[in-house]
Structures are given as structure tokens and as C-alpha cells.
């Protein structure tokens, strides 16, 4: 493989990492509070607001059921508004974030709901405010689950990022389609797939390791 092609792969890898990294950060920024709220706002819960909970639930479901490639195209005007352009890696971060946030929110909701309700009662019994319960009880207790959720989200984002080539987003998936598929370069396709597999493995292993480290539930003498 020529040095030019290898350079292309390296450049595409950085583009992918850039898009996925920023989108994961922003997606977590929106998804984590949203997920915590979804997990604590049903009737009788900490921030009980059943109507808001239901409306947000519908919005989250609607976003999640829209195929990603359609979402990318459908929100182009919004992307231009936010990123100043609708083309390129930076612009691609907008749809990636919008896809990631509700996904992360649902995973966060599930992880938070796993926390024993007795702990909420316990913290209430010594006078903790709802906000204190979230930050001192729910999030720390759900941390292993939250890390695994984030890992899953990053892996999914790597898959989504292959589709943003459609709006000139660049990245590994785009490279694979343009060179590997359209120019019939199987070695390029193979290289892209190998890099993606390596990235997913790396992310998953790192996530598993961190989740295990913070999980004190299974530790024994």
C-alpha cells in the first residue's frame, strides 16, 4: 500500500476519532441529565413530573426511531445554523450528537433505575435534597452501568460516523466507501475495516476495564 493511501487512512482515523469523540462528549452532556431526569420523574419519584416525563419519552423515542442517514439529511438547516456549514467533519458532529443524546439518555435511565430504591429512602431519611441524592447516591452507585452505557454509545457512534460521508463528513467509513467500494480497492476496504475493528476493541476493553474498576459490588476480600 502506497504511503499516500496510508496517510489517507491515518487522516480518516483522526477524523473519525474527532467526530465520535466530540459527539460522545456532547451526547453525554445532554444525554446524562436527560437520562437522570427520565429515571426520576415518574409519579412519586424524586423530581415527579409525569407529564414532562411522558413528553420527553416520546421525543426520545421519535429521535431514536429515525434512521440515522435520514436524520443527517433532515436536519441540514439546523446543522448549518449551529456549525455554520453543513459539510465536513465539524458539521457531522451535529447529527451525531442528536442521535447519541437520546440513546445515551435511555441507557442512563436504565442504569439509574438499577440503583436500589432503598438507598433513595435512606438518603431522604437523613435529610438529603433531591439534587444531593442524584449526585451523592444515584450517579456514584450507577457508575459501572453508566461507563458501560457510554462505551456502548461510543461504539454505536463509530458505526454512525460511517454514514456522514453522505454530507462530506469524512472519516473511516467514508474512506471505505469512496476508495474501497467505488474505486474497487479491496485492500483499502480491508484496511478500513481492520482499523474500525481495532478501535471498537480498544474502546470496549477500556470501557470494561473502567467499569470493573469502579464496581465495588463484586469485590471480595
Amino acid at each position: 500500500m502506497s504511503p499516500e493511501l496510508i496517510n489517507l487512512i491515518i487522516q480518516a482515523t483522526f477524523e473519525s476519532l474527532y467526530m465520535v469523540g466530540i459527539a460522545a462528549l456532547l451526547g453525554t452532556g445532554f444525554g446524562l441529565p436527560l437520562g437522570v431526569f427520565l429515571a426520576t420523574s415518574r409519579k412519586g419519584e424524586l423530581f415527579a413530573a409525569p407529564t414532562v416525563n411522558r413528553v420527553l419519552g416520546i421525543v426520545v423515542n421519535a429521535t431514536r426511531s429515525t434512521p440515522f442517514i435520514i436524520l443527517v439529511v433532515a436536519i441540514i438547516p439546523f446543522t448549518r445554523l449551529v456549525a455554520g456549514t453543513s459539510i465536513g467533519s465539524t458539521a457531522a458532529i451535529v447529527p451525531l450528537t442528536i442521535a447519541a443524546a437520546p440513546f445515551i439518555a435511555r441507557l442512563v435511565e436504565a442504569a439509574i433505575r438499577e440503583v436500589d430504591g432503598g438507598l433513595i429512602e435512606t438518603a431522604s431519611s437523613f435529610g438529603a435534597s433531591p439534587i444531593q441524592i442524584v449526585f451523592k447516591v444515584l450517579v456514584p452507585e450507577a457508575l459501572p452501568g453508566l461507563l458501560l452505557a457510554l462505551t456502548l454509545a461510543v461504539v454505536s457512534l463509530l458505526g454512525y460516523s460511517a454514514m456522514v460521508g453522505a454530507v462530506g463528513g469524512g472519516g473511516l467509513g467514508d474512506l471505505g466507501i469512496r476508495y474501497g467500494y467505488q474505486r474497487f480497492m479491496p485492500e483499502m476496504m480491508l484496511a478500513v475495516v481492520v482499523v474500525l475493528i481495532a478501535l471498537v476493541q480498544l474502546v470496549q476493553s477500556a470501557g470494561d476495564y473502567l467499569a470493573r474498576r469502579v464496581n465495588r459490588r463484586l469485590r471480595h476480600r
Binding site: 435512606t122 437523613f126 435529610g127 438529603a128 444531593q132 456514584p140 452507585e141 465495588r216
Partner: protein
């Protein structure tokens, strides 16, 4: 017969018994329930439930009060009214002179810091060490790091697990976890400690150790303790006062010794039967017949001070009978012997009748069960 009472740990004898008096006539009550009812409304097809009704009693400052009842009797609701986790439907709960049922938001949270609570399943945070679990209520109350560190060390020593400072709950035994729970509940120096079936998940030996610890805490710190339990043995070992709950009503309340030496309500009697063993040994039951035999079988209830000690000797001496002891179970409740003796009386019907008359003369409840050959 004294052997049973020897089992009681010396630390269980706690000061002077303090009476639960009428709510209105008790100004220095730590906790006062005034006309409480608690109704859970119908929800998702489940009918509404009257969990508590007509609750009026007071818990004296510094006392250890057991609230005993079967599951569903309303114990959990009752204890959660004290720290404001639940609100009464009618009436009010006054804790240390303050109507806690009227407090909300920040006022309620401040008041809750003076009421500690321990739980059946400990409810420790798995992500925090023993020390950090104990620190949690202090962090919530806004203590400084240095103050928290000093207080946590003090508390770990108080509950006897100073060496477990950096252990996570998954590395602790049930008894150690409950000690952490107790330390955490006491962290903010509360006036009241609520115990929600705190020993129900522990083995008998650990239960005894935890109850001893609670007795020490009551004696040394003067903390008022409210225990809810379905286990008679817990009330017997620790409480000086008892409130018997059944179907949302207080059916009896008073000194443990008074209530259990003269139980009136069937529920109270059934709890008592758990420790006094009103059921006879199987081997004896199979030998009892209704046709006259060599010995009449008489069961004598022993309730209260000085009752059992010399009974058999006096009976034998005064009536000139070779009384035999077929079965006996005497336990100590609130410092008073409670139980029953099953005696074999030789000499036919007349001897048995004379024995029953003698027993009733000295106010021992007794009954003839039959005869053994």
C-alpha cells in the same frame, strides 16, 4: 429455672423504665402521635388501604420502645411518620416538640438530621467504603472535611469496627454492615434512632450483639430508640416499653413486663407464645390421655416477679405430693420471668383438684391437660 434469666446480658438493664403515658398528659415526650390515621389511596386497580387508624400515644425521651406487629400491621408506616418520610392522612406527629408532619422542603430536611434510621437490608452505598458511608449524612449536612474525618473515626470506634475504615460493604459481614448503618444513623448526633427490622436479616448471635450495641448507645448517648419488629425476641431483649400493633390499631401498650405478664389481646398472646412455648413437647403430647392414669398433668402459667422460684418445692411440701416436672419453659421478659411449667401430680383426681385449688389460691393460672400412665 434461674438459668434462663442468666442469659440476659448485663448491658440490657437500662436505667429506670419510663412509662408511655397518655399523649396529651406527657409534655416531655420525644415522639407524640396525635390522632393519626394513614390511608393509601386506590392506585392502578389496587384498592385503598387504611394502614393506620386512631393512633394516639407518646414515646418518652431516652426510652427504648418496641413496636411489634405482624407484617401488614402498619409498623413501617408508623415509623416513617416519625422522620417525615411519610405524611399522616389526619392528625400530627410531634417530635421533640416540633410538628414534623407539617414540615416540608428544607425545614423537613433539617429536622430529619436529628432523627437517625437503620434498615433491615442496611442500605449502604456499595460505591463507598465504611468510612465514606458514615460520612454521607455529614457531607449532606455540610460539615467540613476535617470535622467529618474526626467524627467518622469516633463513630467507627463507637460501633466497634475501627479496623474496617477502608472496607467496602461487599467485604463486610451482615453484622458489620449493620454496625456501619448504626454509625451512619448516629453521625449527625440525632435524638431519636429508628430501627426498621434492623436485625431481621441477621443470625441470632449477631442479632444479640447488635441489640447489645443499641442498648449501649441508648445508655451512653441517651438516644431515644424506636424499634419496629415482628420478632418477640427483639422486644424481649432490648425494649422497656412496647406498643402492639394489629391491623393499623394500637391494641396494647405499656411496660414490656406488664404487657407480657398479663397479655390481653390475642395478638399479644400469640407473640408471647413464641417465647414461652405454650405448645407442649411432642413426646409429652403423645403420652397424655383423658382416662385417669397414675399422674394428672397440670400446666401452670408463670407470669411475673417471684412466681416460679419456689413453686414446686412449696407445692410438694404443703400438699405432701411427689410432684414431677414433665416440661418447663421459662424466659425473661422485661426482667420478669414468663413461661409455663407442666407438672405431673400423683395420687388421683383428689390430689389434682387440691393442687388446682392451691394454685388458684396463689393466683397461678393453671389447667388440667389430662393424665399420663
Amino acid at each position: 429455672m434461674k438459668a434462663a434469666s442468666m442469659n440476659a446480658h448485663p448491658s440490657l438493664v437500662i436505667g429506670e423504665p419510663i412509662e408511655i403515658r397518655d399523649a396529651a398528659a406527657e409534655p416531655d415526650a420525644m415522639v407524640r402521635f396525635e390522632g393519626i390515621s394513614k390511608t393509601y389511596p386506590a392506585y392502578r386497580g389496587k384498592p385503598g388501604v387504611n394502614a393506620l387508624e386512631g393512633i394516639d400515644f407518646a414515646i418518652a425521651r431516652g426510652s427504648i420502645t418496641g413496636v411489634i406487629g405482624r407484617s401488614g400491621a402498619g409498623k413501617s408506616s408508623l415509623v416513617r411518620l416519625i422522620n417525615g418520610l411519610e405524611k399522616p392522612t389526619t392528625g400530627r406527629v410531634v417530635v421533640d416538640g416540633r410538628d414534623i408532619s407539617a414540615l416540608t422542603g428544607r425545614d423537613l430536611r433539617l429536622a430529619q438530621r436529628s432523627i437517625g434510621m437503620i434498615f433491615q437490608h442496611f442500605n449502604l452505598l456499595s460505591s463507598r467504603t465504611a468510612a465514606d458511608n458514615i460520612a454521607l449524612p455529614l457531607e449532606i449536612a455540610g460539615w467540613s472535611k476535617a470535622d467529618i474525618r474526626a467524627r467518622v473515626t469516633e463513630l467507627l470506634e463507637l460501633v466497634g469496627i475501627a479496623d474496617k475504615h477502608d472496607r467496602y460493604p461487599s467485604e463486610l459481614s451482615g453484622g458489620q454492615k449493620q454496625r456501619v448503618g448504626i454509625a451512619r444513623a448516629l453521625a449527625t448526633r440525632p435524638d431519636v434512632l429508628l430501627s426498621d427490622e434492623a436485625t431481621s436479616a441477621l443470625d441470632p448471635q449477631t442479632t444479640r450483639a447488635i441489640l447489645d450495641l443499641l442498648a449501649n448507645i441508648n445508655r451512653e448517648l441517651g438516644v431515644t430508640i424506636v424499634l419496629i419488629t415482628h420478632e418477640m425476641s427483639v422486644v424481649r431483649q432490648l425494649a422497656k416499653e412496647v406498643v402492639v400493633l394489629d391491623a393499623g390499631h394500637v391494641v396494647e401498650s405499656g411496660h414490656v413486663a406488664d404487657i407480657f405478664t398479663h397479655p390481653k389481646h390475642p395478638i399479644t398472646q400469640s407473640f408471647l407464645a413464641e417465647v414461652t412455648g405454650d405448645s407442649l413437647p411432642v413426646s409429652l403430647v403423645s403420652r397424655i390421655v383423658q382416662e385417669p392414669g397414675s399422674h394428672a398433668v397440670i400446666r401452670v402459667q408463670v407470669r411475673g416477679a417471684g412466681a416460679g422460684d419456689t413453686l414446686i418445692a412449696r407445692l410438694a411440701r404443703e400438699l405432701g405430693l411427689d410432684v414431677s416436672l414433665l416440661s418447663a419453659r421459662i424466659d425473661e421478659i422485661g426482667g420478669q420471668p414468663v413461661g409455663s411449667l407442666v407438672l405431673g401430680i400423683p395420687g388421683g383426681d383428689s390430689a389434682a383438684t387440691r393442687t388446682l385449688a392451691w394454685l388458684s389460691q396463689y393466683q397461678f393460672p393453671a389447667e388440667r391437660l389430662g393424665y399420663v400412665a
